[in-house]
Symmetry: C4
Subunit: 281 residues, 4 copies
């Protein structure tokens, strides 16, 4: 029963994304994840949760059972079970089922908060969706290319909010709600990101002047990350186009979703493989 | 009376946009739509609506009659009435006149809400305005080219607001206004989009820390869609320019609103036709 | 006394920007405008205005006298006084001095509101500052090139806020503060632009869902104008660079603030003249 | 003891960033600065500050002593001590230690506010972090290249908020919270930057109309600085790439973080030196 071909076929279905069965499995998985997420959300609504405790719990148990079977099958059919179990998605897959088991064996109320927090991690599984879309590679690579510029940008923002927070703390003081520097830094972040809750606003003319300066600065430095991402993305899209070459006439410059060569009309390589080639070349 | 040439002339006026009569008809139609919209808005104002019920209703009836005649004429002169009736604009045209007739025959108060909702659809008709402007093609094509990147972006935002919503629900809890996870997700959306109503704000230091993280994240991921659209738009504008070739010297690279070739000065094709050629080429 | 050369020298000082005297005049004018503006602002502050009525009025009269002399000199030395008087800046110059004279001859309180409003126009004069900076030409031309795309964008926004305003009016209704459709459209604008005052917020779950949709939409369409401006600006900057040619080696591609040719080192034309040449060529 | 080689070795460690010891010193310095900053922040928290006055003060004294030694060493080993003492970082280094000494010798309460304000300047020292990252050069040069466009943009924003502030002051008046023109300009800044605190909102229909206009304008001019930065950054990144030439095959076009030539594989110059070369070339 456990001859290699069955194991491999299972591997192709569960881990693969190119076969019909593999895609069907992925779609079923996504539906299951989203359903279990909806149950998690419904539990928290005061007008629904307490009334439907029992049915929601049964659904929760069913999904946990399903995910447990899926996790065991992944462990079974993976060529290297250990490296799967310790991989990012392997840990997430385990974290997605553990909380329910912990809740069964340790049903004490004090544990619930932390358990619910772990449950949220289940959402990350949906991120696997992104794997199927080659465009996400361009987006991710652009962000990676720009990571140092983004780090510099965030350091600058961190310095600015500390300075503006300390200044508003000195100017407005605890009598106007700015009770401490962390509280004032929170105000500076709310202001510089243009969120502007309005729960903490300057009352003195000098404070309002400083707030105006903070806003205008936030307004203009908002332009910097956009500029960085755009410049990298436009760079990446151009070089990606250059990497896609026609297997017949060898001409580069095809769009990432092109199926046929625009010069000779012959079929291009599968988009997913194409990206891999692009990385190697 | 119903000989083909009259039908065709009517078709050119009602559906066409190139003749003088066609343009005049379109402008008259836009004025009629905007006027009927203003009446709809005026009805809702407490200090105007109840006082002027009768005259507003008469105006409403007149516009509905006008739009009904227009709809029947469109059906009559269209070469394929069925495909018009089932097209996007055909359905909108019907939905624009139906509510008034429903309100006449079923004047019960309970129906009013839904009817008013249908009436709003009338606004979509104004969207046809966009058809006359060739630049909208570049905008639309850029958005279409970027649709997968935008989908990935929105999936990421959806996952982020769910995670941040669940976290703030656990941290702040119902005693600080975060009564359920959907409510907390609503807060996360309000924060990540930098809207910041201020109707729901974190009260605890940990909650404020999480809110700061959400804001800074929202601030930086705001850069991603802008980068996507800009890169696609700049790509599309460049390729569009390349598509516009001079019929005399065959040189490409003309601006979308250029009327004469910048190299030899000979007249270029009509912008509207040019776009069509661009699509075919 | 009124021989042509004096008139011309006056013209060069008042209208010109290239001579030392011309620049000095412009700087003096900007200081005078800003000073009269500060007086206007000081008058409105409750703790300053009523106390210092008399000195502020004397300052106001002095500046008005100065601006009147300037206006008469401009009329006198302009080669075509009529075309100056009817030009945009000519009308602004007149509107900048008229309110004070009207206030002297018609000192009735009811007129004050309108007069104060006219006075604000004086600020536009500062816009002339922009004339001296050649970069503003690139900015303006980019905006002009993108004017049709911006128009389409604003039409789309106008349609969206009307639809969302009408929908929230139906969903939330007058009992939650959405008293009329214009009021609801105001809410939609506050939300879609991510301003989020918080004076009008949805209370029902359905309303919160619609608000979330409006925010996410606003968040993503914010990317469109940025994309348009960036693409046009980057286009314009590139073509501007191409227009700047070295008078010695005739090589193009110099930065807008370059003083020397980067290939042979010979001096480039004055930036201001360079832009003019760029337009002609 | 004070022979030149020791002085020079100290200089390389304290001012240099290329040797192992130099990097270790910089990291230690950053940790010290951040620690002294955390103490400064902790002092301001009402539930921590008053309780732990004594230990916090001891930490503060220790860090001040450390920074004083560092300052004296910098003065000692610098080849030109005077030019260091009067440089930007020299002044910041002095301002970082002075407040504590002033607080010791003049412990009167009234001085504390100003002293605390000076202390904030210490944060600037962290800015030196940025020096180590070559990407910051591209960011800074882009901002410098765009400085005139940014100035024009801010002048336009300044004029707009003055006009909109004056208009809303006339429309809404002191009875709706718009007590003076500076207050109204503050509202205009809060609105145009899309911060939207909600502490000051229009109440009249006309005021709401003007607010809507302000928001939509703010929404669209937000695109202008982004466009400027993006265009300059994309320009700068391209020209930077061109400046990085392979020492073996002399081919340009390498990424700023590339370590090997993408054509012949030979090692490229150190990124930091490379930037310097780029400036010279």
């Amino acid at each position: 029963m456990t001859h290699p071909s069955f194991k491999h076929r299972l591997y192709v279905i569960i881990f693969g994304t190119h076969t019909k069965a593999g895609r069907a499995f992925d779609i079923a998985l996504i539906i299951a994840i989203l359903s279990s997420l909806i149950i998690f959300v419904l539990e928290s609504i005061p007008s629904i949760g307490p009334k439907w405790v029992q049915p929601l719990r049964y659904f929760e148990y069913s999904f946990t059972a399903l995910f447990t079977i899926e996790y065991l099958l992944r462990l079974y059919c993976s060529p290297k079970p250990k490296s799967y179990a310790t991989s990012f998605y392997g840990v997430i897959d385990l974290l997605a089922i553990l909380p329910t088991y912990i809740a069964i064996f340790f049903p004490s109320a004090s544990f619930m908060g932390v358990i619910r927090l772990l449950r949220v991690m289940r959402i990350f599984r949906v991120l696997k969706l992104v794997r199927y879309l080659q465009d996400s590679n361009i987006l991710l690579r652009s962000l990676l290319m720009a990571r140092r510029k983004i780090f510099i940008f965030f350091s600058t923002v961190a310095i600015l909010v500390t300075i503006f927070g300390a200044l508003i703390y000195v100017i407005e003081g605890p009598e106007n709600g700015f009770t401490s520097i962390p509280q004032s830094i929170y105000w500076a972040i709310v202001t510089i990101t243009t969120v502007g809750y309005g729960d903490l606003v300057p009352k003195t003319p000098l404070g309002k002047g400083l707030a105006s300066l903070t806003m205008l600065l936030g307004y203009s430095i908002l332009a910097v990350p956009t500029g960085i991402i755009t410049a990298e993305l436009s760079n990446e899209m151009h070089s990606h186009k250059e990497l896609v070459k026609c297997p017949n006439c060898n001409q580069p410059g095809h769009d990432s979703d092109a199926m046929h060569c625009k010069h000779c009309g012959s079929e291009l390589a599968d988009p997913d493989d194409r990206v891999v080639t692009g990385k190697k070349g």
